[in-house]
């Protein structure tokens, strides 16, 4: 990732968020959600700011950030492909779908491609079990998948910018 996401503008937003939340009880989780949203990740630089303003040890904040799977230390790719590995999707063949996507994008599960275009994740049940197997690309949801659908979906985002 070459894009600089630790911009001054983002830090201004972060300060505003912390000020708005710091007097509530248990402010850390809501602030981290906002920080993840603003920066697309919560790297150590961001954690330090939160630590100082909340007067909470950095180690504790790092502990919380790394505990929850929705918080990341590094930003994700432009297109986050999430393949649902809930039980319903799994018994309907989600594993083969993952293998196919990894093959077509050349990215392993949990990794981001070198050009920052794709990240692939095996996600927890997204609750669209009626459409299993399901995958998401950012906000778009694709359901009732067969292996034949995959090349078209990947191609759609490969061409997009």
């Amino acid at each position: 990732m070459t894009k600089n996401f630790l911009t001054e503008e983002n830090f201004v937003k972060l300060h505003r968020v912390i000020d708005a939340h710091k007097d509530m009880q248990g402010p850390l989780m809501p602030i981290l959600h906002e920080a993840q949203h603003i920066f697309g990740a919560i790297p150590i630089e961001v954690q330090k700011v939160i630590s100082e303003k909340l007067n909470t040890p950095l180690a504790e904040i790092y502990g919380v950030v790394t505990f929850y799977s929705q918080f990341t230390l590094e930003p994700k790719g432009e297109f986050l492909i999430g393949i649902c590995l809930g039980t319903a999707c799994y018994v309907r063949g989600a594993q083969q779908i993952i293998d196919k996507i990894c093959e077509l994008t050349g990215v392993a599960v949990g990794k981001t491609s070198a050009d920052g275009k794709f990240s692939i994740e095996a996600t927890r049940c997204i609750g669209a079990c009626g459409l299993a197997p399901v995958l998401t690309v950012n906000e778009d949801v694709y359901g009732r998948l067969t292996l034949n659908d995959i090349p078209g979906i990947v191609q759609k985002y490969k061409g997009a910018n």
Partner: protein, 598 residues
């Protein structure tokens, strides 16, 4: 004009939205305007209808016509034919696979999927627009809160809940009334109510549907609980993976505040109550109540030893009632219609109804709500429509990663908390995954263990280390390297983890293994002794062979990427197992279909 002659209900649940419901809704609105019908026909976005498999779903009232898998090109026909001329578009109606007659079902109330259900928690889902508080109020919304505040004392409320026998729908099955009583009697000025909406069991999505389809009922129920125990603040801890539910609950809370149904001096009773949403961040263990508390407080979501129970020392150290979404969803109706009404459904020890999420190898995947005590067979074959593609029912998994499998022999079992536990499974939150004869049970157990290993928080050793060792053993077995000793060790370790883990996650994690070992031991033995996977799922144990009937056409030989197939033209061909990479490319090429996986 408020009065419309017809309502088109478009499902706005996650399932249908994923299959394009919003576009359909927009097209209906456009088409109605174009035809000048927009003053007569109203389009309403509702919560989940439950039959997600058939989405996007639209229902046209007053006829109750149930249109399924509605595509963009169908919208115009429904508008032209049904809404303008009053002719139901029969070929677009839902085809009832479970119906004995081949008649097309013209009304939703005739569809078998709904006939055997009793919708209590889901009563409003798919009927009201969840983003309009007046619609909830029209269906008696907030009347129960009004009744509690004006006619009942907190003790009356608790007694009514105890009398109803309602047991927690999140999995534990603890009596809700008792939980409220304990919390109300705990000393302290400040108390909290909390709603556990961190629905994490893969394959269960009833809580999401309630929050999406009827968010106000959760607000009303939490307010009632708060009144009963003496709390003034409520937290809803909800998964961040459910954006639609988060949004609609947020809208509902804002509307209730505006109407004075939340806030100070509610309905002139002097009772104050406010609510706050807290988002989870993708940790399954936070569904455990003490971990949920830790997470709300801003810590890693790790469970704490009990006692003290949340009723004594909960959020920010104060006495707290925590119930799950589905439990809260039935509270207003119990208060309004009385405990006797509620106990008229279900069994003696498990009164009421329960929502199940049917998934896996079943025709009607979706949400169903049935009276407790309904048999598995009725749920899977009558409501669920049986197994697709003519395959054979093998097992049904209930209770997610904490539960176990039930087999054909258990199909007549009436479902309630106690019967399922007695059979080595559990109710859990109500996921019900059906597997057929093409699913390998050892691999299925491995799948759940893989989940638990990933989600174990790491606080206690039995769960952190033990589940990992169990997973390793299962991987050894599915890759064909297992021994009979491994099976014994697996079982021994499973019991050790059950006995010594700190929280519910670890204590129940071995269940999928134990129940498959109990009912499908022959499959484990086949993997270990014969080095075969009877279901043909475990890649390492498969071999692709050419059976009798080869005509020597060479089609397979030409497609093989590693030259593993040998044989002369018009002679029998053979696959060299040492070279074969099991890609399966040859299988579809064979004109005689004699290449098979074994």
């Amino acid at each position: 004009m408020d009065f419309y002659r017809s309502h088109v209900l478009v499902c706005g649940g996650t399932g249908c939205v994923s299959s394009g419901a919003y576009t359909i809704e927009e097209m209906f609105n456009n088409a109605l305007v174009a035809k000048g019908l927009d003053k007569e026909v109203k389009v309403v976005r509702t919560g989940c209808f439950g039959l997600c498999e058939a989405g996007p779903i639209c229902i046209v009232y007053p006829e109750g016509s149930f249109y399924s898998r509605v595509e963009q090109k169908d919208v115009e026909r429904i508008v032209d034919e049904h809404l303008l001329k009053g002719r139901i578009v029969k070929d677009l109606l839902y085809v009832d696979k479970a119906a004995t007659v081949t008649d097309i079902q013209t009304s939703i109330s005739d569809v078998t999927f709904y006939k055997k259900q009793k919708r209590v928690a889901l009563a409003n889902c798919g009927v009201i627009n969840p983003e309009i508080i007046e619609e909830y109020i029209a269906f008696d919304g907030y009347q129960a809160l009004g009744k509690a505040l004006t006619e009942m004392t907190p003790v009356d409320v608790i007694n009514e809940m105890k009398k109803s026998g309602l047991r927690g729908r999140g999995g534990g099955g603890f009596p809700t009334g008792l939980k409220w009583e304990f919390t109300s009697k705990s000393p302290g000025d400040i108390k909290y109510v909390a709603c556990n909406a961190d629905e994490g069991d893969p394959g269960a999505f009833m809580d999401r549907s309630v929050l999406e389809g009827d968010p106000h009922c959760i607000i009303e129920a939490m307010a009632i609980a708060a009144y009963a125990i003496g709390a003034e603040k409520g937290y809803v801890y909800i998964r961040a993976e459910y954006p639609i539910a988060v949004k609609r609950l947020g809208i509902a809370i804002a509307q209730a505040n505006e109407m004075g149904l939340l806030g100070k001096d509610i309905l002139g009773s002097g009772f104050n109550f406010e609510m706050e949403i807290r988002l989870g961040a993708g940790a399954f263990v936070c569904g455990e109540e003490t971990a949920l508390i830790a997470s709300i407080e801003g810590e890693r979501g790790m469970p704490r030893p009990k006692p003290p129970f949340p009723a004594q020392k909960g959020i920010f150290g104060k006495p707290t009632v925590i119930n799950n979404v589905e439990t809260y969803a039935v509270v207003p109706q119990i208060i309004l219609k009385g405990a006797d009404w509620f106990t008229s459904f279900g069994t003696e020890k498990s009164p009421g109804t329960k929502v199940f999420a049917l998934g896996g190898k079943i025709n009607n995947t979706g949400l169903v709500e049935i009276p407790m005590g309904t048999s598995l067979k009725e749920v899977i074959f009558d409501i669920g429509g049986g197994i697709p593609d003519g395959r054979k029912f093998k097992a049904v998994q209930t209770g997610g990663p904490s539960g176990g499998c039930l087999t054909e022999a258990h199909l007549d079992t009436p479902i309630d908390f106690d019967t399922l536990t007695a059979l080595g499974s559990m109710m859990g939150s109500g996921g019900m995954i059906v597997v057929d004869d093409s699913n390998c049970m050892v691999d299925f157990a491995r799948f759940f263990l893989d989940f638990t290993v990933d989600e174990s928080c790491g606080k206690c050793v039995p769960c952190r280390e033990g589940t990992k060792r169990m997973l390793e053993m299962l991987e050894k077995i599915t890759s064909g390297n297992g021994t009979m000793q491994d099976l014994d060790k697996l079982e021994e370790l499973a019991y050790a983890i059950k006995d010594s883990s700190l929280c519910g996650l670890g204590q129940t994690a071995p269940n999928p293994v134990l129940s498959t070992l109990k009912y499908f031991k022959d499959e484990y033995i086949a993997h270990v002794v014969d080095k075969k996977c009877p279901a043909g799922m475990c890649q390492d144990l498969l071999s692709i062979v050419i059976v009798d009937g080869c005509i020597g056409c060479t089609a397979c030989k030409r497609v093989c990427p590693v030259d593993a197939i040998s044989g002369e033209v018009k002679q029998n061909h053979v696959i060299d197992q040492a070279k074969c990479i099991k890609c399966g490319a040859c299988i579809p090429k064979c004109p005689k279909k004699v290449i098979v996986k074994q």
